[in-house]
């Protein structure tokens, strides 16, 4: 799974894993006041390690599948591509066919890719990663910036300065933290060339999610989502989906942290591997965010 490959980078982003050896040594000196104080940070790191590992045990922890369906994608006109003359060679696997010269995107594949992308986005948001929404379409700039602001993440829908990602310490500040995920709602810029951030993110090992239309190049994007990026309903749908995924993930994180804090030192036993995100039966009722059997 791609999440496994990205895990070490995200671990470095903000959370330190508890060193197991030292924790065991401290556990031997139970009973003294000093040891009790030393146990607190050990418990914290243990707790955070458990919180972070919890979503990774389930395939769809955040239940992103229920946020959309093929029918809702169709209604939002996500399947409409450009004319056959604009078609990019590498988009051919994702194209269902062509009707009256207009390419139609295969929504079954779109659904699979979108589920992967939303799941990944939710995981990144859960782990407190920085998400950057990038687009260069003036028509949707305001919408995307508002979406990013409402879910507490970041947006860049303006002129992209040359070394923003590759030369960030000079442009943004000495100790700046780069985005952990970049979401492209439009992969092309205003002159129909691939956005510079696609290549730069690949250079800086930043995973990307991107809505790729039939005239786009899906090569350098980690999680491409074949779909229409020109119609307003389609873009609104994608914005809404990403926003919901991010907010859900953050909410889940808050809930888990509160839960673990209430429960105390020993971590929760995964009572039911099939039921995602519910460590104890008593608390299961509280976590009512879309548990599908």
């Amino acid at each position: 799974m791609a999440t496994g490959a990205v895990l070490p980078r995200l671990l470095g982003a903000g959370v330190r894993a508890a060193p197991r050896g030292r924790a065991a040594q401290r556990g031997r000196t139970l009973g003294s006041a000093a040891a009790a104080a030393a146990r607190e940070p050990e418990r914290d790191s243990d707790r955070s390690a458990r919180i972070l590992s919890e979503p990774l045990k389930h395939s769809d922890f955040f239940n992103v599948k229920e946020l959309f369906s093929v029918r809702s994608l169709f209604n939002a006109r996500v399947h409409l591509g450009h004319k056959a003359g604009c078609r990019h060679r590498f988009m051919e696997p994702y194209i269902f066919g062509s009707r009256l010269g207009q390419d139609i995107i295969d929504l079954e594949q779109t659904a699979t890719h979108l589920q992967l992308a939303l799941n990944f986005t939710a995981h990144v948001a859960f782990r407190g990663g920085i998400i950057l929404f990038v687009s260069r379409a003036r028509q949707f700039s305001h919408l995307i910036e508002s979406t990013a602001r409402s879910c507490g993440e970041y947006a860049h829908t303006r002129y992209f300065k040359g070394g923003l990602l590759t030369n960030a310490p000079l442009l943004l500040g000495a100790q700046v933290r780069l985005p952990d995920l970049i979401i492209f709602l439009h992969t092309l810029n205003n002159v129909f060339e691939p956005h510079v951030a696609v290549r730069d993110a690949a250079k800086m090992s930043i995973p990307t999610v991107g809505v790729v239309d039939t005239n786009c190049n899906p090569c350098l994007i980690t999680y491409p989502v074949p779909g229409n990026d020109d119609s307003p309903p389609a873009v609104q749908l994608f914005c809404q989906l990403f926003q919901t995924a991010v907010t859900r993930a953050k909410e889940k994180r808050r809930q888990l942290e509160a839960l673990y804090r209430l429960q105390g030192a020993p971590g929760p036993h995964p009572a039911d591997p099939a039921a995602p995100g519910a460590p104890s039966p008593g608390a299961q009722a509280q976590l009512g965010v879309g548990h599908s059997p």
Binding site: H142, L164, G173
Partner: protein
């Protein structure tokens, strides 16, 4: 006085100790002091130390973009921050200065909060020393007094006002800077941080949001049929848009001309739509009132002499000529200059035309008598000086509109042109020596 010995004047903070202060604290070419403190062995200790300490607090006012000055600033700061008895200020060359690549980094020289605080402390102490030197009360020593004291102590003939020595609060000298833009976990505070120009783009975002909102409201009104074309009556001549420098100062960010133009265009678009109170307030933040120029000009009231004749005085200057004119309310157009009739004083017609111009402009050619005195300058500049003096005196006799017309005609403005000095290596002010190929 040893020109090479380090000047051992102590820092202001260490004045408490009674250690003997080096008499004649002559600094080596100090990058900021314009004049070394004069050697005065007989002067009382405090004043000598003040004389040495004060120069360090003098700032050469300059624009932020002068990287060299900032290099000097770094030197000054490093010299002062050592905290020891003052040494010769050596220019400390940091690696950033020498390599060509990091010019951009040097340009954005950042001052830490501690440094600015220290500068403020030193400024306050220096202000008190200055008050003592001038014999004033340090408690009630205002900025105007400081400016006056500095112009008295360091008279400068430089034309550029910004190149003269000043002593101002560090807040006015060091450019405003941004604090760190992200929290402990590294997440930036502002959602547009990664664009690079977060304040400007968030302002654009906000303005565009308001435009969309206003257009939506307009559509709703049109759909209901309640829409009426309303003419904007609130931005004629009384106000103007912010200029680019003011906007940069407001946002604490550098802008390009295109950015500024885009922003003004968006605001114009917003103000063209029917706005509600919140939007008008938003637009009002970016408008500045323009003062009508003629309002600044004070019009003297008429004075009356023993016979009951109304008169008014005015003064004028042109090049090196100074003139004072007394214009009487009723008369026959007689002009007397230094006791001599104008026909005799100014044989040349051109000069007499200059004198007639203000009256001719106001259609009052034979209606006033003038007595004036003039000194300095040549024939033409004396005529110009008298003309200005007469126009100023005439302001008391005429209406405000006529004063505005005179101002627009250029009758009330002192001509700022003075003789340009001759430069070395050239024959005159501009004329170069004849170029010989061989």
């Amino acid at each position: 006085m040893a020109g090479h010995a380090p000047c051992s004047a102590p820092l202001p903070g260490s004045l408490a100790d009674p250690a003997p202060i080096c008499a004649g604290a002559v600094c080596r070419p100090c990058p900021i002091a314009l004049r070394p403190a004069p050697p005065a062995p007989n002067m009382a200790a405090p004043s000598v130390s003040c004389g040495a300490a004060v120069p360090y607090r003098l700032f050469l006012a300059g624009r932020v973009s002068f990287a060299r000055e900032q290099g000097l600033w770094k030197a000054a700061a490093s010299g002062l921050q050592t905290g020891t008895r003052c040494q010769i200020l050596r220019l400390k060359h940091s690696p950033a200065v020498t390599t060509k690549k990091n010019v951009a980094a040097l340009r954005r020289e950042s001052y830490t909060v501690d440094f600015i605080k220290k500068q403020i402390e030193e400024f306050n102490i220096g202000k008190r020393h200055l008050a003592n030197m001038m014999g004033e009360d340090p408690e009630t020593f205002t900025q105007e007094d400081v400016d006056r004291a500095i112009t008295y102590l360091f008279p400068s003939g430089l034309f550029e006002k910004r190149a003269r020595p000043i002593m101002k609060h560090p807040e006015e000298i060091f450019p405003k800077q941004r604090a760190v833009q992200w929290g402990e976990d590294g997440r930036p505070f502002h959602f547009l941080f990664y664009t690079g120009k977060q304040s400007y783009y968030s302002l654009m975002h906000e303005a565009y949001g308001k435009v969309l909102h206003a257009e939506e409201r307009q559509d709703q009104l049109r759909a209901k049929g309640l829409f009426s074309e309303k003419s904007k009556s609130k931005d004629p001549i009384g106000s103007r848009w912010l200029i680019k420098e003011e906007l940069e100062e407001m946002l604490v960010e550098k802008l390009s001309d295109q950015d500024y133009a885009q922003f003004i265009r968006l605001l114009e678009r917003l103000s063209a739509l029917p706005c509600d109170a919140a939007e008008e307030e938003f637009v009002g933040r970016f408008r500045r009132t323009v003062t009508v120029q003629s309002k600044k000009h004070l019009i003297e009231p008429l004075q009356y002499d023993e016979q009951g004749m109304a008169f008014s005085t005015g003064q004028g200057k042109r090049k090196t000529a100074n003139a004072e004119a007394v214009v009487y309310g009723h008369g026959s157009g007689k002009i007397e200059i230094n006791g001599v009739d104008y026909l005799l004083y100014f044989p040349v017609t051109q000069d007499r035309e200059q004198l007639m111009f203000p009256f001719h402009f106001l259609d009052r050619l034979g209606k006033h008598d003038v007595t004036c005195t003039v000194s300095g300058g040549g024939r033409s500049s004396q005529a110009g000086a008298i003309r200005l003096a007469m126009s100023r005196a005439l302001c008391s006799f005429i209406t405000e509109d006529e004063v505005e017309w005179m101002r627009q005609a250029g009758l009330l403005t002192t001509d700022p042109r003075v003789r340009e000095r001759k430069k070395p290596g050239q024959e005159g002010a501009r004329r170069k020596f004849t170029w010989k190929k061989r």
